[in-house]
């Protein structure tokens, strides 16, 4: 049973508090969605999602069920406890106004009203300012539902069609979090049209973290990350 469910329009920014013990499900209701996401410690937002620490602790360049998101302080922000999609991109960042305009053309508010073209950078800045943060607080984000493969020569390849209608990912908060979301298109998505997809989210109570929890036990680094997190939450 979810406590809260709501749909985020395509191309929109969003933010919410996600408390330890709750799980955020993101659902791709139309297929082909992308959700840029940033995570902060709700109480001390200077602690935040750290892409390199997340990748190197788990020796991964993609995210799916069993992986966790690390803060820069050696703690687990949230765990990916379920995932029907299989691959989420932590590498490619997000578009800004100039990049979005170059790719999709401009559509201003004056003429297009709320169908105007928005971009992930500006949407993140707006959400950041709501909490006393600003552009300096924005770093590399996760792109849920998107897949970027790195070939042996290092080249990055966007894989279209990674997320299907109804695909979802569950994020179990291990600390009290401030979460920024944005449903803008992935920066490497070759689609030349401005067609950001909506995403539905659900907040629900998490199941208790069992002794055999997949994310905690998937590697010894995560066990230590959970120890750090538990000590912080004492």
């Amino acid at each position: 049973m979810s406590l809260w469910q709501e749909t985020i329009h395509g191309g929109a920014g969003w933010s919410l508090l996600l408390r330890r013990g709750n799980t955020l499900r993101l659902e791709d209701t139309e297929g082909g969605a992308n959700v840029g996401a940033l995570f902060f410690n709700k109480d001390f937002p200077v602690e935040r999602y750290n892409m390199p620490d997340t990748l190197k602790a788990q020796h991964t360049a993609h995210l799916t069920k069993g992986f966790v998101l690390y803060s820069d302080m050696g703690r687990v922000l949230c765990s990916i406890t379920d995932d029907s999609c299989g691959w989420h991109d932590p590498l490619a960042g997000h578009n800004d106004a100039a990049a979005a305009a170059a790719k999709y053309g401009e559509a201003n508010y004056q003429k297009h009203r709320n169908a105007w073209h928005r971009n992930t950078r500006d949407n993140f800045v707006i959400e950041a300012e709501k909490y006393g943060l600003d552009a300096r607080d924005l770093g590399p984000n996760v792109n849920f539902f998107s897949k970027v493969v790195v070939d042996p020569d290092g080249s990055m390849r966007f894989v279209p069609g990674n997320s299907k209608v109804g695909d979802f990912v569950d994020l179990r908060a291990e600390m009290d979090l401030l979460v920024f979301l944005d449903t803008g298109q992935h920066p490497l998505d070759p689609n030349p049209k401005y067609e950001p997809k909506p995403v539905k989210f659900y907040v629900s109570k998490s199941d208790p973290v069992a002794a055999d929890d997949l994310c905690r036990n998937s590697r010894p680094e995560n066990e230590r990350g959970f120890i750090n997190t538990e000590r912080y939450c004492l």
């Binding site: 892409m51 302080m73 800004d96 590399p140 990055m156």
Partner: protein
Amino acid sequence: MSSRRPEDASYSAVVNAGDYWIHEIKAAQIFRIVDLEGNQAVDTLFYNAHDTEERYSATDTIAAQRNIYLTTGTKLMSTFRKSMLTIIDDTCGRHDTLGGACSAESNQVRYAVDKRHMHACRDSFLRAIADPKWKLSKRDITANINFFMNVPVTPEGKLTFEDGISEPLKYVEMRADMDVLCLISNCPQLNNPCNAYNPTPVQVLIWD
């Protein structure tokens, strides 16, 4: 190979393992980092010297060139998607920007909870920017470059830390495309075999 001679440099310094270095590099100056003894990791961040809100962006750099490795020809992009510096010579071959900087806390996760006391790059970064004249704080410490580090990614999405591909006196040289502030931590990591558990000094040179 670069034709620039060290004796013609307008600035030269050795940064010892475990030390930090923070210095301004003017637009059009040439900046070289020399791996004096080989397989050292040089954790590096850049900021626009006049507006530090604009800073090096790992994701914008790799997305712009559609490649995760930094080498000759790579433009080091800012969060404003402008070129901050361009790599113009590289005798190492490639450099990492996904592995980030070690910290006391990430060492706890990666190696053992009781490693927190060990010296780490992010402590060096924080010590360097503690001087208020730089107008930087912890939130400005973002995903950095690891010059001379070898961190391959496989098509299956695995990230691995491989033995270094650098050797003594390998170097990377770049041209500043704007006035930048350069912040380096010469990595003190003692837990990782990639530097043979022996961090070593590097040399930084600037030509006008």
